[in-house]
């Protein structure tokens, strides 16, 4: 193909995730993009494939003590503690702003009990402008002695089934990487009625200040995110894609189009960008532009041809 013809096509970047039509496969990861508004001075939100909000709970949540974050090698730990305004205030105060954009809004949510999960989902079900729900199952189940829903296939299946009954929106279940066998969790989620899976949430980690002998974050243990975790995330997405038929959204350490492509090639239909937003508020815009460039350079007319193109 000559240089001139190479430049003549505009590759299709649009993807379909469980019926959601996305302009492109790039969206922010929950908790790293606020309620969208915070980054609107830096980025045209209409450019994004979707907007994913901070995690919502039934009641407002105070979050953890400070310090809540610390930098690690090519990553960061956070223990924000899921601070949020509560689902009702979100619907009242935050959705109005997002209605200004034609980008699908995915609302991330969680609960401390099965019932709370169900109730939040129900309250979001008839909210116009909410395109899909992303269910964070990396939360401790208060009734089950604090065992994380997402680490027990039985507990996960139960809460997902319950939520499934209370929402008609596409339901994305967000998996935690801190398990022995992600394929078991993925299959349990599929059977319980998830429409899509997203992964990974943060790896559990810890850092110590050797001078004060204290943990660097008040909560002692936090979630590790950023480029450091990408190889673990790519591996888990690869394993999940092989275990289930559901569409998968890849997350973990993406900072560039090449990073995003790793996930798409192993089979993710879309990806979320998290920590990289903090480092570069325009990261997602650059990734979208570079994805298009990659397709043009490689003569790929439709990005869907790249998805799952891994050669083993």
């Amino acid at each position: 193909m000559s240089k001139s013809t190479e430049q003549q096509f505009k590759p299709n970047l649009a993807v379909d995730v469980a019926g959601l039509k996305l302009k492109n496969p790039i969206m922010p990861a929950s908790g790293t993009f606020g309620y969208g508004e915070e980054y609107s001075p830096y980025l045209d939100l209409n450019q994004l494939g979707a907007i994913v909000t901070k995690g919502m709970s039934l009641n407002p949540k105070a979050g953890n003590n400070t310090p809540r974050i610390c930098e690690t090698v090519s990553g960061m730990l956070n223990a924000i503690g899921l601070q949020n305004v509560g689902v009702d205030a979100f619907i009242k105060d935050k959705m109005a702003f997002l209605a200004n954009y034609d980008t699908p809004v995915i609302v991330n949510f969680f609960g401390n009990t099965q019932e709370e999960y169900g109730e939040v989902a129900a309250r979001l079900d008839d909210v116009p402008g909410v395109a899909a729900l992303e269910m964070n199952i990396s939360c401790p189940n208060v009734k089950q002695g604090g065992i994380v829903f997402g680490t027990e296939p039985q507990a996960a299946a139960e809460v997902i089934s319950l939520v499934r009954k209370r929402t008609s929106k596409p339901l994305i279940v967000k998996l935690t990487p801190n398990v022995t066998d992600i394929q078991v969790m993925a299959r349990a989620s599929e059977e319980a009625g998830a429409d899509a899976l997203s992964l990974i949430n943060t790896l559990t980690g810890m850092a110590v200040d050797v001078k004060t002998r204290k943990p660097r974050i008040a909560n002692t243990i936090g979630g590790l995110s950023g480029p450091a975790i990408r190889p673990v995330a790519v591996r888990l997405v690869h394993q999940v894609v092989q275990a289930v038929k559901l569409p998968v959204i890849g997350i973990g350490g993406i900072t560039s189009a090449v990073d995003a492509l790793e996930f798409l090639i192993v089979g993710a239909k879309a990806v979320q960008v998290g920590t990289a937003n903090f480092v570069d508020p325009t990261a997602m815009a650059t990734i979208i532009a570079d994805l298009e460039k990659f397709c043009i350079d490689d003569g790929i007319t439709d990005i869907n041809a790249l998805i799952g193109s891994l050669e083993l």
């Binding site: 790293t32 980054y39 105070a62 974050i69 930098e71 090519s74 960061m76 924000i80 601070q83």
Partner: protein, 283 residues
């Protein structure tokens, strides 16, 4: 609050461990107000990963390299080398690429024109007070009380004097100015002053002492706080402090990066704020 890919204009040591960096920053003279900060990406690399929050010391125009070019609009930072990011900053040469997000945050309220203004600062806590002083001297008598352990910690005094600010110094070892804590001279000042407003920036124990003094005398106080920050724009909720009336059932967390870094002291849950140990950033 543009996100600029820009360059270093100059970078010099101004006192042992303290450096002054000028960065090309179109728009900053119009956009910046006293007490605001920037998030600086010190190099395009994944270690260190996060941007560093740094107060705006000054904005202005530097002469262009030749007559036919317009002058260069700059932001000036003063930083202390304490860890990996500031180590890298120290090495940056003229023309080095950096990424600059800002101006960010809520700065100082200037208070009533005419009433006496007392600024209290120590170390890099002086940084955000400079632009404040530039404003305050226009309408009021301004004093700056600088505290430090030894004379090596006292920086920027003559810069403030040049603005017309009356500077007093206290060092713990008496190597410069009054011997003792800066709060000692603050109390002396407040004993003789009538209508005063106080503006403070420095280490938490100093702010805590200043708060006690001002509250007991019902003197209005604004403080500029530090917090570990990931985003600088209110998105990560990493940098919160507890606001007035905060409880866990009725939380009132305020983002240092948006509601602050400058707070009216009465808007903070002061006891809990003073208890925060920044545990060093570090890795």
């Amino acid at each position: 609050m543009p996100d600029l890919k820009t360059v270093v204009l100059s970078n010099q040591e101004i006192a042992p461990g303290y450096y002054r960096m000028k960065i090309l920053a179109p728009g900053y003279t119009q956009l910046s107000s006293p007490g605001q900060f920037v998030m600086l990406r010190v190099q395009n690399s994944l270690t260190p990963l996060l941007r560093r929050p740094l107060g705006i010391y000054r904005v202005g125009f530097a002469p262009a390299d030749c007559d036919t070019l317009p002058p260069k609009e700059f932001v000036e930072l003063i930083y202390k080398v304490v860890g990996s990011g500031t180590e890298i900053m120290r090495e940056l040469e003229v023309g080095a690429p950096v990424e600059l997000l800002g101006p960010l945050g809520t700065g100082f309220e200037f208070g009533a024109a005419g009433t006496e203004k007392i600024m209290v600062g120590g170390g890099i806590g002086l940084v955000p007070l400079y632009m404040l002083a530039q404003e305050l001297v226009k309408t009021s008598a301004v004093k700056l009380l600088i505290g430090g352990r030894t004379r090596d910690d006292i920086i920027l005094a003559s810069e403030f004097e040049r603005l017309g600010v009356k500077v007093e110094v206290a060092t713990e070892d008496g190597s410069m100015g009054t011997k003792g804590l800066v709060t000692k001279i603050l109390e002396q000042q407040l004993d003789v002053s009538k209508q005063t407003e106080v503006f403070a920036c420095g280490p938490m124990p100093m702010l805590d002492a200043v708060e006690k003094i001002c509250t007991s005398r019902e003197v209005p106080l604004q403080v500029s706080l530090e917090a570990l920050m990931a985003c600088g724009v209110g998105a990560c909720l990493g940098c919160v402090v507890k606001g007035e009336g905060h409880t866990s059932s009725e939380p009132n967390y305020l983002c240092t990066c948006t509601a602050g870094p400058v707070f009216d002291a009465t808007n903070l849950d002061w006891k809990k704020t003073a208890a925060i140990k920044m545990a060093g950033g570090g890795k």
